[in-house]
């Protein structure tokens, strides 16, 4: 992967943000005529269920904690929340924060809170059990942990480690330090469960600690990023990242008002985000892209005298031989230090020669690239060091075969971030950088297997940590939620592997976790009706002889979805569907050529929301292309149309990466041939729940791809999401 390409995608997606918004207008009620078929055909068979939507994890299965703890035992049983008290036994901000987050999680899920107080002494027989949170510094808690077998000499008693116990006598989280207590509570939150007898905490005994001391995630900072970052940063903390790399190129620095970009973040916003990161128990590290990728330095055709290649149309790199370069750059670094108060500043220095001639000048050619590069790094390093701040930089230019000899002389306390964006069992560059005397952090991106495998090899090779990069979202941060959400999902996968490389989690689990965190719902079940699609089916799901599904035979069908169902009924994420056959519409391709452009499913039922389990037969050539629509026709003749936009709210059964949070990653499977497949849910809120819905019509765009409905469920009430509150987005 080229980072430049990823950056390009980010910028372009931002450029398209406004159009995407227009195209994304959801429902618009229009008067229409009830299709004849809906009026005439008998209604579909509806199966009433009590839990058509139920976001609570199944109480009868073991808990799934992410990141997977190093050592965990889950005895059978649940500690009821009723009557449970909360004792936060440490005044450290991280521990206090942990207590607040636990209370908030309970309130979000159950609309309840624990009684708070301090533990007055040893628990008395008959007293109500409590959740106690503290650190090993508290002798009483250390003793309590020891009594459960968590010795202070155990591996959990290292920085950021914790011990956790939940049993009939109560629960405790003992951190080896304050951060450890915070992480223990993040695990405790994931032990919350809704049982038929009420909410509780699953019994557990956990000793846990991170494999890497540095677990970093990258975010963007601009004038529009607050909405995303305010949601995202707590999620990163919940999944136990401890540092955040903040892309800060376009911050409106006081020292450089001539390059202020209106879409760049105000300095106060940068300060606020740095505070948010710290308040969430993490450290901010600003990334200021220098030498290459330095377009920000030339914004508005400013500083053109500093261009490395003045003849190139692309203002990409600066000229270190021009002394004025540092008159501009160094004050910006000073401001970044003042705002972020970081231990390190990341100075970029990647892909320096990828775009323009470098060196371009005759003077530069005489000196040579290696020397120019070295001197620039050293100049910036010395400046940062004089301010008590370390230097972090990418490895790809410093450690090429053509240049690596020169890095031998660089100061050894430079911290290299070594990016490789493919899955891979072995990345020798980590060893090479360490052999040269530097510390190194591996850097991964979104592809499944990348963070997971890199973390394993990086741990083996002695890396200090891992960085999960993200290359989307500048100047239009909505791409993280819509268009390139796979990069958001990857945060969760990476978090799991950075904490415990030996226990990666599958992409589908990460996708559901991120989607659930992005749109959290209270744990209240919603009743509804499952629609039996068989009378309207146009294709079978199973293709045992080349005549079903897409006509490609066994191994290229949805048999694994059918196998997962019981008598056609299957719970996928929070949704339950009757899955029996496919309502596939036409496109000019393969078996779909002869299918109907439109299929109407008569319903004659009320619903507050409609959940559609769907996919397309083939991918559209590009994200954003129209796939068709769903039309709800009410019994009074009015209609409501839901446009389907490829990648945004529908995707092909073979496109299993979640690119948009507007569709829920309900099901992922593998065919008998080994093909990864899936289907997502689009939830359509009904703005007129008082009207009975006569029918749902599936219409294909025909040109680019074709919608296929696999399941349809009518919800009696809207899922209990509190999307109105800015506090709603929480782990």
């Amino acid at each position: 992967m080229r980072r430049a390409a990823a950056r390009a995608a980010s910028r372009a997606a931002a450029a398209l943000g406004s159009l995407a918004t227009v195209a994304g207008c959801l429902l618009s009620a229009t008067a229409g005529v009830v299709p004849a078929v809906a009026a005439a055909a008998p209604p579909a068979r509806l199966l009433a269920v009590n839990r058509a939507f139920d976001p609570a994890p199944p109480a009868d299965q073991p808990p799934v904690v992410v990141p997977v703890p190093q050592r965990a035992d889950y005895p059978s049983g649940t500690l009821p929340l009723t009557g449970l008290a909360l004792h936060v036994e440490d005044d450290a901000p991280a521990v206090q924060q942990a207590g607040r987050w636990l209370q908030q999680a309970i309130e979000d899920r159950f609309h309840d809170r624990l009684d708070e107080g301090r533990q007055a002494g040893p628990r008395q027989p008959g007293a109500n059990p409590a959740v106690v949170i503290g650190t090993l510094a508290d002798g009483r808690l250390a003793s309590q942990a020891r009594s459960r077998g968590f010795l202070a000499t155990g591996p959990w008693a290292q920085p950021e480690g914790y011990a956790l116990h939940v049993g009939p006598d109560g629960a405790f989280v003992v951190g080896a330090d304050a951060r450890g207590a915070f992480y223990g509570v993040q695990t405790l939150i994931q032990l919350l469960v809704a049982t038929p007898r009420g909410p509780g905490l699953r019994y557990a005994d956990i000793a846990d600690w991170p494999a890497f001391p540095v677990r970093m995630a990258m975010i963007y900072l601009d004038a529009h990023s607050a909405g995303i970052n305010d949601r995202l940063v707590p999620i990163l903390a919940h999944y136990k990242f401890n540092q955040v790399l903040v892309m800060a190129d376009y911050v409106r620095w006081d020292s450089a008002p001539n390059i202020w970009n209106p879409a760049g973040a105000a300095k106060d916003e940068a300060r606020r985000v740095a505070g948010l990161i710290r308040a969430s128990g993490m450290e901010p590290v600003p990334l200021i892209e220098l030498l290459g990728h330095a377009q920000w330095l030339f914004y508005g055709d400013q500083n053109l005298d500093l261009l490395q290649d003045p003849e190139s149309p692309e203002p990409y790199a600066y000229d270190p031989l021009n002394p004025r370069t540092y008159d501009v750059v160094l004050p910006i670094l000073d401001e970044a230090i003042e705002v972020f108060r970081p231990r390190y500043v990341h100075i970029g220095h990647d892909e320096v020669r990828n775009v323009v001639r470098f060196p371009a000048s005759e003077a530069g050619k005489r000196i040579g690239f290696n020397r120019i590069f070295y001197d620039d790094v050293l100049r910036l390093y010395n400046h940062l060091k004089s301010r008590g701040v370390g230097t972090m930089m990418w490895q790809d230019v410093a450690f090429t075969e053509a240049t690596k000899e020169i890095v031998a002389d660089l100061p050894k306390d430079i911290l290299f971030t070594d990016w490789h964006y493919s899955p891979g069992a072995d990345f020798p560059s980590v060893r090479e950088i360490r052999a040269a005397g530097f510390d190194v952090i591996g850097a991964s991106w979104y592809r499944p297997g990348n963070a997971e495998e890199f973390a394993r090899s990086a741990l083996r090779d002695g890396a200090l940590g891992m960085l999960q990069t993200r290359w989307t979202g500048y100047f239009g941060n909505s791409t993280l939620a819509r268009g390139q959400a796979e990069q958001a999902v990857a945060y969760v996968r990476a978090a799991a592997s950075f904490w415990r490389p030996a226990a990666p989690i599958p992409d589908e689990r990460a996708a559901q976790r991120f989607a659930d965190a992005w749109r959290p719902a209270a744990w209240r079940a919603v009743p509804g009706h499952l629609v039996d699609l068989r009378p309207f089916a146009t294709r079978t799901l199973v293709d045992s002889d080349g005549s079903g599904w897409l006509g490609k035979g066994p191994g290229y069908d949805l048999a694994p979805l059918v196998e997962q169902s019981r008598e056609g009924i299957v719970k996928l994420g929070p949704y339950t569907f009757h899955v029996s056959a496919a309502v596939m519409t036409r496109m000019n391709r393969g078996v779909a050529r002869d299918l109907p452009d439109q299929v109407t499913i008569p319903l004659h039922a009320p619903a507050a929301a409609v959940a559609v389990l769907h996919t397309t037969g083939w991918p559209a050539p590009a994200v954003g292309q129209p796939a068709g629509s769903y039309t709800l026709t009410y019994e009074d003749g009015t209609t409501l149309e839901q446009p389907l936009e490829y990648g945004r709210n529908i995707a092909a059964w073979t496109d299993t990466l979640l690119t948009s949070l507007e569709r829920y990653p309900a099901w992922r499977g593998v065919t008998s041939e080994g093909l990864a497949v899936g289907a997502d849910v689009l939830e359509i809120s009904n703005p007129h729940p008082e009207k009975r819905i006569a029918s749902l019509t599936v219409t294909s765009d025909v040109r680019w791809t074709n919608p296929v409905v696999l399941g349809l469920t009518l919800l009696d009430a809207l899922p209990p999401r509190d999307s109105s509150s800015p506090e709603a987005i929480r782990p």
């Binding site: 080229r2 390009a8 159009l19 899955p423 069992a425 560059s429 268009g483 290229y556 994200v623 080994g674």
Partner: protein, 420 residues
């Protein structure tokens, strides 16, 4: 990766095409814009002359030229199309042209020009920009150049290789690369193995990509796996630099220019960059024909001119594309860029077979002899963006040890089979 990363970008292309697609007659105030790919500043003079010549031939028309760096073209073009303000003609590579065509983003050139307008091009070049199902021509060929084998004669000597002995097979080239590394510690080559290059290497080796009916992938046979394994083994044994998969020809050119790479497998136009970066290395460089493999074909990336479907002046855009790629203009450009024209007549100019003292001269003459084997081997398959990415991802997984070669090829084949 490029295509994958740009998915978010393509969001509104189609809508924009629908809204903005118009054909305007040339008026006194008509201005058209054409974009080229990574030609500035080296070819500023030629492009400005091209624009001026077109203006002279089309009174009342002003031509604006914009050059876009290679790593930015897709982003800028898709953004411009989505915004309804694309150039009237644009120079892109064959694989990007195919994807744009599949998205419905390109004009059908044969709507604006008769068949005879396309007769000047090599048929196998025009085929690259012709939809194999519908026959629609979505671009016109421009320049290309079969890759050559350039080598550093001093490194050859240090490795005990005879710089006067021509390397004539791929196997000899690999053996030479090993010998260079073993004897000098420097790398022998950075082969073209990144991205989807194996789809081309397979064809160069005479191995099929699809079955005869084009309904299933055929690139996961033991022979295909063995070819990939050859390079994976070289990579794992450190005969290929670690950043080869990441940096491709850019990294190779840099390393060769630094005097630290034995052989450079590249189009002859990149020797100009070597000359610019390090004259001393250039002067000890020789070039020879790239060795033919069993397929008797050399993948030769073909540049072309397209016209966006929602260009404001499509007719003029098509006229410009045909003008820029006519025989005379192609010949002028090829002479200055050390590339070859894609028109039959211009390719027969004596310039291309006239020997000279420099590595660039040697490369040109070698290429002239190889031109008969040149073909852009970019495959026209449905869902090309997805399928190419699946192939690339799996090749990288094999090289970085994430999965065995055969498993990687099987995985890619499964994804292709679901679409074919």
């Amino acid at each position: 990766m490029l295509r994958q990363a740009l998915r978010g970008l393509k969001v509104a292309v189609l809508a924009a095409i629908t809204v903005f697609s118009t054909v305007l007659p040339a008026t006194a105030a008509t201005q058209i814009e054409f974009w080229t790919l990574s030609l500035s500043p080296t070819f500023d003079k030629q492009m400005k002359e091209l624009a001026a010549d077109f203006e002279a031939a089309h009174p009342g028309v002003k031509v604006k030229w914009t050059d876009v760096p290679g790593n930015a073209i897709q982003q800028k073009l898709l953004s411009a199309i989505a915004a309804g303000n694309p150039p009237d003609a644009v120079n892109v590579s064959s694989d990007m042209a195919l994807q744009l065509f599949q998205q419905g983003a390109l004009a059908e050139l044969n709507e604006f020009a008769g068949r005879e307008a396309f007769n000047a091009y090599f048929p196998r070049a025009l085929t690259t920009f012709t939809d194999r199902e519908s026959g629609v021509i979505f671009g016109v060929p421009w320049y290309w150049a079969p890759k050559v084998l350039a080598y550093n004669t001093e490194i050859f000597k240090q490795a005990g290789l005879d710089p006067n002995r021509r390397i004539s097979t791929v196997q000899e080239m690999i053996a030479a690369a090993r010998q260079i590394k073993d004897q000098t510690g420097m790398y022998g080559f950075m082969p073209n193995i990144n991205n989807i290059s194996f789809l081309f290497l397979f064809q160069e080796a005479g191995l099929p990509i699809l079955n005869a009916e084009r309904t299933r992938a055929a690139f996961n046979s033991p022979a295909h796996a063995a070819l990939v394994q050859t390079y994976v083994d070289l990579f794992k044994k450190n005969y290929i630099p670690e950043d080869t998969m990441r940096r491709g020809y850019l990294g190779a050119t840099e390393l060769f220019s630094a005097g630290k790479l034995g052989m450079l497998l590249t189009g002859p136009q990149f020797l100009i960059r070597v000359a610019n970066d390090n004259r001393a290395v250039y002067e000890i460089t020789r070039a020879t024909a790239y060795p033919l493999d069993a397929g008797r074909v050399i993948h030769t990336p073909l540049m072309g001119f397209m016209v966006p479907a929602n260009a404001r002046n499509k007719k003029l855009g098509v006229e410009f594309a045909l003008f820029a790629t006519n025989g005379a203009n192609q010949l002028t450009f090829a002479k200055s860029s050390n590339t070859f024209p894609s028109t039959v007549q211009a390719s027969q100019d004596p310039f291309f077979t006239t020997a000279g003292p420099t590595a660039a001269d040697q490369a040109r003459v070698a290429d002239a002899a190889q031109l008969q084997f040149a073909q852009d081997l970019t495959l026209q398959v449905p869902d090309s963006a997805k399928l190419f990415k699946a192939f690339k991802d799996n090749m990288e997984a094999a090289f970085f040890g994430s999965k065995p070669v055969q498993e990687a090829l099987n995985e890619a084949a499964r994804i292709w089979n679901a679409s074919l």
